[in-house]
């Protein structure tokens, strides 16, 4: 369910299932689904029990940033759009959700959906002129846009329960926290809630990748002229990818708002977008597992370092080296490389165990010759 269209055997199994007209899952698909189910059950039931509140909070952030990475993965990995503005998109989602949560009594899932839709529209409109650009220029434009959004948010402020469109009241002495869903007010419960939302988002993207838009994106990434000649409206499908990525990031913003209770524009510095792109490239932009790895790198690693008393500045250096390393040796990211490395290590270890047997042969022949 997760690494769709990445491993050849998954593409193989879906195609053969379609061809035979039956949807009988093949063995690799079954194993993969089983692994995902076991992992999810552990994450939902076991993990919050095992971890201290400090790490539960960190894991909620991991979930949020896994969704952000998922959105950026759609842009980078599917249509080749390098965006350095994702933190601004996240901020727009968080702002919209916070405003709706203060202003209305709507149920949380509805607020998340609305925040996602608002972000989808804004994100798409913002990136519309940038769609004609690629590579470095697109990255620069999106970084500038992210900077602009940060400035606007610093002036506008995040809603804190005030009135009017901005929902901000600077004179307020008691600032009410952003509410959480009634079924998930405690930190562990909210973590579970965030994971469920993330699963829905991952499923949404997985469905896209497996169906018509996913095939169109694959064609666009390979060659735009070739995609045009087979009848793909490349502008429409690129916009579709931008809209989907913005929606997912907006929902992540909504989850973030509830997780932190209080929002400040200082929490969304434009340069964080660069870190997000770095972890997405390291995790692997072409696979959905890569987004999970990216979320862990982005939020769990700093939490660990802080707990161990190591300066977070080391992370910047580590990510810098990491990106260079990944781009030179494993362009498809850790999510693709790690299983391969493990398989290699397994073979190596198996080879070490077996070695004494063939090594004995030359010794005996060597002994016979003189």
């Amino acid at each position: 369910m997760l690494d769709v269209a990445e491993s050849p055997d998954s593409a193989d199994s879906t195609a053969s299932a379609r061809l035979s007209g039956l949807r009988l899952p093949t063995r690799p698909t079954l194993i993969r689904s089983a692994v995902i189910v076991v992992l999810l059950v552990f994450v939902l039931l076991g993990l919050p029990q095992l971890l201290s509140l400090y790490y539960v909070d960190a894991m909620t952030q991991v979930t949020v940033y896994a969704m952000v990475a998922l959105g950026l993965g759609v842009l980078v990995g599917r249509v080749g759009l390098m965006s350095l503005g994702q933190v601004a998109v996240l901020a727009v989602g968080a702002w919209s959700a916070a405003r709706l949560l203060f202003g209305t009594g709507q149920p949380y899932p509805l607020v998340l959906l609305e925040a996602g839709l608002v972000t989808m529209i804004l994100g798409t409109v913002l990136l519309l002129p940038a769609l004609r650009l690629r590579g470095l220029y697109l990255a620069l434009i999106t970084l500038m846009l992210a900077g602009a959004v940060t400035v606007v948010l610093a002036t506008l402020n995040f809603p804190n329960g005030g009135h009017g469109f901005t929902g901000y009241n600077g004179n307020q002495t008691h600032i009410p926290p952003i509410r959480r869903p009634s079924i998930a007010t405690s930190d562990p419960a909210y973590f579970r809630y965030a994971v469920v939302v993330a699963v829905v988002m991952f499923a949404l993207v997985a469905i896209h990748i497996r169906t018509r838009p996913g095939r169109a994106w694959a064609a666009i990434r390979q060659s735009e002229p070739a995609a045009l000649t087979v009848g793909i409206n490349t502008t429409l499908y690129k916009l579709w990818a931008v809209a989907l990525a913005s929606f997912v990031t907006g929902v992540a913003g909504g989850v973030y708002a509830g997780a932190v209770h209080y929002l400040y524009s200082i929490d969304f510095p434009a340069y964080t977008s660069i870190t997000i792109l770095a972890v997405v490239l390291m995790g692997g932009a072409y696979s959905l597992w890569g987004a999970v790895v990216a979320g862990l790198l982005m939020q769990l690693l700093p939490a660990l370092l802080q707990n161990w008393g190591v300066s977070n500045d080391w992370l910047t250096i580590l990510f810098g080296i990491g990106v260079v390393q990944v781009l030179t040796t494993a362009p498809r990211g850790l999510a693709d490389q790690f299983p391969k490395d493990m398989a290699k290590l397994g073979k190596l270890l198996a080879g070490l165990v077996r070695r004494p047997v063939p090594a004995a042969v030359p010794e005996t022949t060597g002994g016979e010759t003189p």
Binding site: A11, D12, L19, R215, A218, L228, T229, G231
Partner: protein
Amino acid sequence: MIEVSGLTVRFGGVTSLDNMSVTFEAGTCGLIGPNGAGKTTFFNVLSGFVRPASGSVRAFGDDLLSIVHFRRARWGVRRTFQTEQAIEELSVFDNVGLVHEHAGQPRASRRADVLDAISFVGLDVDPASPVGTLGVGQRRLLEVARAVVGHPRLVLLDEPAAGLPDAETEGLAEVIRQIPARTGALTILVDHDMSLVSGCCETTAVLDFGELIASGPTAQVLRDERVVRAYLGTAEVA
């Protein structure tokens, strides 16, 4: 029938196609010429990547140039490129199905049409296998399958046999010969391999430095003095 009249394409100071007027009647037509003669530019005009400075292209009565590039597949234009463009990430089936899907063909007939196209070109592989496992010749066949699926009206083949050994080229020629009869599409073949062109095409047009220098029945065109001169590079006799 494709009627091209007065087609001129300029890139800055370079005139790639100079007042080209030619009619492609039906069946498989060859388009040959030395490197840089404007063959691919002509294809790019038909696919909508290049806007001509002047001229018109009427295809089966429609003004082809007025159709937006990505809508031309829906109209019935199919094209292969000099470098094959099979999508690595997708299976053989999805590679062909993608064309069917975006060319506005009915979903109900997709499976049958795609499998039909794959078997027509003689691609003897599991349709579910990823493109990455295919050899050069198989990828070329896959390109042709992509070009014939879902009722094409105009099939443009840009050096479909580039990089193929002779034995495989012969198999490809057999497939190309059958395209018009099977799909009803007008097929235009660009290639440097004269045996492929003369083996597949009833009529042939020759371009040289953007100018149409000959067109007509293939055998006659290939004997034409100006064509021989253009290919052998003999100096113009005044």
